[in-house]
């Protein structure tokens, strides 16, 4: 090694004149998050020798999410996963809240079926969850190498990826296939030229989250829960019109309160993220739920919310990309998912890598089975189906006008304004539309777009 190099937006590949005669591993997975561990697990199960690199001291130490994971995809990898996954609470109450500064309308659904096997959503801490899944990869034979940063790709002069360079002394590792699960910043995928557009910031949101400790009984009382049942509240209209939303999730003895906002919108509004969080925490609909919570951790992370239309190339010669590195977070209004997409993508990437190695062709064409498998599965089918939703949800009208419209409608409906007779719903709608300066034509158009997008 000559100059020390570091992983960053300008990290460069080390070029090898000759492909290395022998490889250290069949498959090299960068990043032991859900995508990486699923990829390592699938590849190791398929008989490959696998190394799993993690830049943090332990899996999950660099990772943040809202707090809810949907484990159904794990049925394929870890049967009966619910008996061993480190879960805080099983989500049995799913609420969507639309708010203005002094109003809030909540649609609250509860199903006790989600509180028993085979379960649906769960709250969990990432340090527990990621470590658990990485443990499965290790048990399947993968070699976990923590506290090690992949600083760049090793490529032949023809451009084929043959390994990575790490920041350890003598840190080059070679492999037949590299699976980049290196997260939202994915310097490896960018270095390989898989992200064509450079306007990435437009499709990024910033999430900030407080973990607030509260006694278990207090959480049960405030959220109407028993045992390991939990609540998931998604919030729209809490971001001062900046495209985004908020969330409040219950863990066993803490709650996760967070705000997610578009990066360009945040910069343009000249508002700091913790101010939005403070607003939300002081809102009359939220304050009584989180009062007295002792902050145990403050965290932040970027989220790729570009959706199907902004996915990078998913394969190169000797290289696959999965998880946040491939922009696979689904932020589609009522659905906010990411970890399940990461696990699914990682699993298909691991299998595709193993299949390509078995067939002796790890070129981009040889790895094309990955994209095909994703398109057939929920991973890209959901993204494809909901490709118009992110734009709609983050639109100006959805963020600035519709929360007020909805809340005013509800207020008009439930307010008893005697001696005046009750207004009809149409009159209420007309008044609210006028008050919020909404074009009825746009409202109708958005309604139709919404129907089509979610259809």
């Amino acid at each position: 090694m000559t100059e020390p190099s570091y992983a960053g937006p300008v990290s460069a590949s080390a070029l090898l004149q000759q492909p290395p005669p022998a490889r250290d591993f069949d498959v090299l997975v960068v990043g032991a998050g859900p995508a990486g561990s699923a990829a390592a697990l699938a590849a190791a199960r398929a008989g490959c020798s696998v190394a799993l690199l993690e830049r943090g001291p332990y899996p999950g130490s660099k990772n943040v999410y809202g707090g809810v994971v949907y484990g159904r995809i794990l049925d394929e990898l870890v049967p009966q996963w619910w008996e061993e996954m480190p879960v805080e609470r099983w989500v049995t109450r799913r609420s969507t809240m639309v708010m203005t500064a002094d109003q809030a309308l909540t649609v609250d659904f509860r199903s006790q079926r989600w509180g028993t096997a085979p379960y649906n959503g769960a709250t969990a801490h990432r340090s527990d969850l990621d470590g658990w899944l990485a443990g499965h990869a290790v048990a399947a034979g993968a070699v976990l190498v923590p506290a090690t940063v992949a600083t760049g790709l090793l490529r032949t002069t023809a451009g084929t990826v043959v390994g990575v360079r790490t920041d350890r002394p003598d840190g080059d590792l070679t492999a037949k296939v590299v699976i980049a699960c290196d997260g939202v910043n994915s310097f490896l995928a960018k270095e390989a030229g898989l992200h064509p557009r450079q306007d990435n910031a437009r499709h990024l949101t910033l999430g900030v989250k407080e973990t607030l400790a509260l006694p278990r009984e207090v959480i049960e009382q405030r959220f109407g829960l028993t045992g390991r049942d939990g609540q998931d509240i998604e919030i729209l209209g809490c971001t001062r019109g900046i495209p985004g939303g908020g969330f409040l999730y219950t863990n066993l003895e803490s709650v996760s309160l967070g705000v997610v906002v578009g990066l360009p919108g945040l910069a343009a509004a000249k508002v700091r993220p913790e101010e939005l969080l403070a607003d939300l925490k002081a809102h009359p609909a939220i304050a009584p739920l989180v009062r007295g919570g002792r902050q145990v951790e403050y965290a932040a992370h970027l989220i790729p919310e570009g959706g199907y239309d902004h996915l990078p190339e998913l394969a190169g010669d000797g290289l696959l990309v999965a998880g946040d590195a491939a922009g696979m977070c689904l932020a589609a209004g009522i659905w906010l998912e990411g970890v399940n997409f990461a696990i699914g993508a990682g699993m298909y990437a691991g299998r595709a890598a193993a299949a390509a190695i078995g067939a002796g062709d790890t070129s981009q064409a040889g790895l094309a089975g990955y994209r095909r498998a994703l398109e057939r599965s929920f991973v890209l089918a959901d993204h494809r189906k909901l490709r118009k939703v992110p734009g709609l949800v983050l639109s100006e009208r959805m963020q600035r006008q519709y929360p007020g419209l909805i809340c005013d409608l509800a207020e008009g409906l439930f307010e008893v304004d005697n001696p005046r007779p009750k207004p009809g719903v149409w009159r209420l709608l007309r008044t609210a539309v006028r008050r919020h300066d909404i074009s009825p034509r746009r409202l109708l158009a958005d309604a139709i777009t919404g129907m089509r997008a979610f259809g």
Binding site: D24, V143, V145, T148, T166, D167, P169, D170
Partner: protein, 269 residues
Amino acid sequence: MAEQPLVVAALSPADPLGGADQAALEHTLRLAEALGGRSLAVTVGPAGAEEVLRQALACGVQRVLRIDGPAAADSDTTARALVAGLGLVPDLLLCGDRSSGRGTGATPAFLAARLGAAQALGLTELLLREGELTAVRRIDGRRREQLTVPLPAVCSVERGSARLRRAALPALLAARTAEIQVATVALPEPRQPVRLGPARPYRPRPLVLPAPVGTDPLARIRALTETDRPRTAARVITPAGPEAAVDELLGYLREHGYLAHLTREDDQC
């Protein structure tokens, strides 16, 4: 000193390595290089303790040895096990100044005594200067003192006294599957440790008052609660000096029975 001096890192078996143990390991590697000697990492514990030895191997120690024994023994037992397992007096033995958790830092002292070696404990710096082992430790008043340590010696170092080097990738991978040498030693029956009971809040001794005088219960209660006693205004005195004030106070306390158990002589001191 032998042809090839032996530098030993005695690590506590807790995984991951604590800060002080990391510093001890780094000093071991540096001093083995400086002395042109061999390095050895050793720990006392069950099979699970091998993880810290693999970390030591990855960082570059030449040999590792696990001495089979309980992970959490008292300092003297740990020292006995180490001495028996090593089977020789190393030129230099390094420890963290205390293991993470509730370490007392007594193991290195026991080790030095049993090995008959010099000891220098709680060091913030340790290096070889002109062929002599030089160390620095904290003393009162934020001062530091410099020590010159003869060999053989047992030294313990503070966390942060050296930053552990990063393991090279090939060594890290090789250490995962390396064979770990195990020594079994005969240890005396562990002595019964002092057992701790539950902690109680501080409770002052009860004030003993003379039994109230009175013929009927009501009078006795009145006497006890002093409800009958006429209230007197506070007495303001202006003593001549500190000594007069002390006499006044003691006199008052004695008069009200608070100093009954003290003699006059006690007053003097």
